[in-house]
Amino acid sequence: MRQKRIKMGGFLAIVCLSLAMVVGLVGCVPAPVAPTTLTIIMEEVPDTDVVKELIPQFEAENPWLRITIEALPYAAMRDKMLTSFLAPESIYDIVIADNPWMDEFASAGFLEPLDERIAQTPDYDFDDFVGPLRDIGVVQDKIYGVPFYNYALALIVRQDLFDNPDVQAAYEERYGKPLAVPTTLEDYLEVSKFFTEQGIYGAAMQPERGYKIFEEWKNWLYAAGGRLMDAQGNTVLDSPEARRALELYIEQFETSAPPGSLSWGFDDALRSVAAGEAATMMSYNWMLPTLNDPDGPAGELAGKFALYEVPGGRGVLGAWHWAIPHNAVNKDAAWEFISWLTSKEIDKQRVILGGAPTRTSVMTDQEVWEKGFGREYYETILSILEDAEPLARGKRAEEVIEVVGTELNMAVARDKTVDQAIRDAAKQVEEIVRR
């Protein structure tokens, strides 16, 4: 019996020893390294959804990196980013910066210069991004952002109405010239009035105070030959051209826009056009695929919309850029992701998936034309982007947009005369820039 116990004890000792050896050996194997997670702040827009679709591919190619996207409404982004910039360590490894924020953030030292990283990235071809888009990311000769997507403004029209022989005949009879998509402000006003007479509002506008009206009216300002600032950064808004642009804008609003649209933003204008209530609108170029989508908001009208350059040919350029905070923890990994996503190859995939284009090579690529929205669409966007001017530049662009946009809206609401609104807007811009 005793012998049996000894045998049993020996067996147990062997088992324990074996287990200890196994555990010991396992301990010698290095523990798997947890992947680094990159956190990105983005806006809740369709272009963010496109990026989300590409993330699994990036994570498969880079198993040591994981991407987390924090998508927020536009109004909540800037505050969160600023708080993050002021912290010892940024919450976000990557941020996207809107056009008006770029100079402000870069000048405050919140963003990491990217020149060296761009130069060291093989086949990146930074010059392939369309010039005006590329320039927005450059502040005081340093690159702080690489283009993510554009939101240049364009003229979206109901092509079926312009092509309708009855409508064409009615227009010719009324104005003594053929109906055509307008290329000047005067033509635009005339065409809009004509459509309103025909029972469809000529233009769905976005005169909401602040950002929206500023963004739309600035196209009118360019078309009238005016500018907000000259090349030296001096305010040149107080001009006869600006007054003319605002007078025409108000005339268009009062004669051809749907009633009660004084507080409309782009979403209201989109709803109006999609519902067949209005014949044209000046809006973001990427709205065209939305309107022409058979499952989109336009329903039976899908496929009847076309994209053109804004009257005058020079449109307002809005753009989002990828950037790395100065206090980001994983700067190299952040660039790894940005350079991958904005590389020619992946950018092409992004655009085919529906993202707004930024690279010339992508917009001239046959595969993109075939799998995307057609050659005409991309060629029109390319020509819009090549001539476009940034929405606003300067360290206080956000404030400039707000005050000018408020004055413009007051003029449209007839709270101020055109002359008073332009004078007050120019005076405030001068003060803001001087401050």
Binding site: R78, D79, L82, L86, E104, F105, S107, A108, F110, E208, R209, G210, P259, G260, S261, L262, S263, D268, R271, S272, A275, K395, R396, E398, E399, E402, T406, N409, M410, A413, R414, D415, K416
Partner: protein, 289 residues
């Protein structure tokens, strides 16, 4: 450890004092310090003392005074309407009725909805394109743009009245229920009409409750922000730009914290004057045996 020698009653106050210092006194002192400096969040390395320049500069800022004017109109009209309607409803609900509790519960509902949700709800309900109210009005041949320059501030006032009248109702109903019955019995014995009982008995007895309710509601109305944020963003033009929205814009969108702080201090001063005036009024009319 000097404080350990303090009597227990003082030592028990210490946690409260520490909390008050941390969450109330320090932010107040810091914001006042900020208002005396050029303090921009995008240029924290360039902070410099400017004395009262931010306060003096406010005199020329027409947008600020316009926002203050809009806020005062909002506060007086909204709180005024809430008091009148709330008092009327409280008088109705004070009477014994079979469905009294049901009506009380239903009437109090709007107060429990978060203001931002109320703002979004009315933004769509009053929208000319998709709103149910313009649609119904259109059916009877009436077209009203609730957010037109003329009506926008009034619409915001109505939304506030919809949401916060129940609060007035709640306070005033509690006040009515706590009134002594003797003066009313005496009035009845003296043959006073319902109207003169209301003017000569109910209203004077309710005066302290009414003024307290006005002060509480007024202080809250000065802080109107959510409706503006969700519906008009201050537009059209500057028609609905209220003071808190303006301060938010300057401080958190333009990052000019010092200017925003000075604006906030002027607002505190204006509010304080109004509250003290109301409080003094209440004290003056108080019954002294």
């Amino acid at each position: 450890m000097q404080f350990l020698r303090l009597p227990l009653k003082y030592r028990l106050l210490i946690p409260l004092i520490v909390v008050l210092l941390a969450v109330l006194i320090y932010p107040l002192i810091f914001s006042f310090w900020v208002s005396l400096h050029d303090y921009r969040l995008t240029a924290l390395h360039e902070v410099q003392f400017v004395g009262l320049a931010n306060y003096i500069g406010l005199s020329g800022k027409m947008s600020y005074w316009n926002a203050l004017r809009n806020t005062l109109i909002f506060v007086f009209l909204a709180v005024g309407l809430q008091t009148i309607i709330g008092f009327g409803l409280a008088l109705l609900l004070h009477r014994p009725s079979r469905f009294r509790n049901f009506f009380r519960a239903v009437l109090l509902t709007p107060m429990f909805i978060t203001p931002i949700a109320v703002g979004l709800m009315f933004r769509f309900m009053l929208n000319l394109q998709v709103g149910v109210l313009p649609y119904l009005l259109d059916k009877v041949g009436v077209t009203i743009d609730w957010f037109s320059p003329r009506l926008a501030l009034f619409s915001i006032i109505l939304i506030d009245v919809w949401q916060w009248t129940p609060f007035m109702l709640l306070l005033l109903l509690a006040g009515l229920e706590s009134l002594p019955v003797e003066p009313f019995e005496a009035a009845r014995v003296d043959g006073a009409s319902a109207w003169s009982t209301f003017w000569k008995v109910t209203l004077p007895l309710m005066r302290p409750v009414l003024i307290m309710a006005l002060i509480i509601r007024m202080l809250d109305a000065f802080k109107v922000f959510e409706y503006i944020y969700a519906i008009t963003q201050g537009g059209p033009g500057e028609r609905t730009e209220t003071i808190l929205w303006h301060i938010y814009k300057v401080g958190f969108r333009f990052f000019r914290m010092s200017e925003a702080a000075s604006m906030a201090y002027v607002l505190v001063l204006v509010t304080l004057v109004l509250v003290v005036a109301l409080y003094y009024n209440m004290k003056r009319g108080e019954y002294r045996p």
